[in-house]
């Protein structure tokens, strides 16, 4: 292997590492804030998760979650934090495409793009409404 390429690989991996850490920390913070609001409001209500009803529609879609979070509803803010969390690995894949392009590795630009397409299909195909 050319030394230049392994240096570049290492650099990409460092940036990826920081990206992952930042994403997880940000999401945990948002979930914590949402959790405190949620518990202050509903902490004394009884739990009801024995039977599956599915979440209300506003907590199932990106648009609905954003509206709820802006209205400072605890559950909406938690869901927003979870969206950040889910977006972290997706951002990692998106960033790898640039990394591979930087290394002129066309084959892996294509490979990473396919992974991103599958992720986009899972997300946009099913939740953006």
């Amino acid at each position: 292997m050319l030394p230049k390429r392994s240096w570049s690989d290492q650099k990409i991996e460092n940036i990826l590492g920081n990206l992952l850490r930042a994403g997880v920390l940000l999401s945990a913070l948002v979930v914590l804030v949402g959790g405190v609001i949620y518990l202050l409001r509903y902490g004394q209500s009884p739990v009801d998760l024995r039977a599956f009803r599915g979440e209300p529609s506003d907590l199932r879609s990106v648009g609905g979650i954003l509206r709820d979070a802006i209205a400072l509803r605890g559950r909406g803010i938690i869901q927003l934090g979870l969206l950040f969390l889910i977006a972290t690995p997706v951002a990692r894949v998106a960033f790898s495409i640039f990394g591979f392009a930087e290394e002129h590795d066309r084959m892996y630009v294509v490979v990473a793009s396919i992974v991103l397409l599958v992720l986009a299909y899972s997300f946009i195909g099913s939740t953006w409404s």
């Binding site: 599956f52 979870l82 977006a87 894949v93 299909y121 899972s122």
Partner: protein, 278 residues
Amino acid sequence: MTILEFSLLVCGSSLIAGLVGALTGLGGGVVLVPLLSLLFKVDIRYAIGASLVSVIATSSGAAAAYVKEGFSNIRIGMFLEIATTSGALLGANLAARVSTHAIAIVFGVVLLFSAYFSRKPRSQADREVPPDPLATGLRLNGSFPDADGPRSYNVQHVPTGWALMFGAGALSGLLGIGSGAIKVLAMDQAMKIPFKVSTTTSNFMIGVTAAASAGVYLNRGYIDPGLVMPVMLGVLSGSLLGARILIKVHTKWLRLGFSLVIVLLAIEMLYNGLSGRI
């Protein structure tokens, strides 16, 4: 039970699951679903959703540390992620179509497999395999830092590994687990990738695999914020704590104890699934 009490109890249990999962290297995800559905009587679909989200958190958190060490191979990871994410899409869509009894039974079997896998001795550190034309063409062969400089390795049996990864992704999407054990099995045993490279690359892939199912879960209403909040925060703190004290504890007995817990949970899941209680 009030929501506050429930959240604190779930958060505490998840913290322990994450801590033990990190210390034993078995991951906390595999015990979360049985814990939530058997002990806290949460519907298994909510439990699966909460577990899947926590898996993304722990794997991204751990991968952040691993990638900097230079063990994980991003090309192997990316190439196999095509298989795991497609599998995960299939599994997550399947989760909505099969009965909860069936999910509980499959879960029990996977738990038994995890317990067996955790008792299995790790494969030999030194093995030299010849380069494989397909792996070479895909530029999967790599090197990792060793005591005396970088050591290079060759990758074998790419199609078998790919097929196993598709299966690992499908189970991850169906059960809301990271299925790290199957990913390591595919890389270490089938593709002959060195163990340390296999485990770190597997960890790197788990988050992306789980993200593929997460969109489907969210849309189907499996992700309940009130449940995911304590689970995710608990597991994440537990696994971060576990990574810090990893070096100081003797993990042999802990691994044995944890495997026993997994076997008990497996029997309980199988019993509940077969008798139609879940």
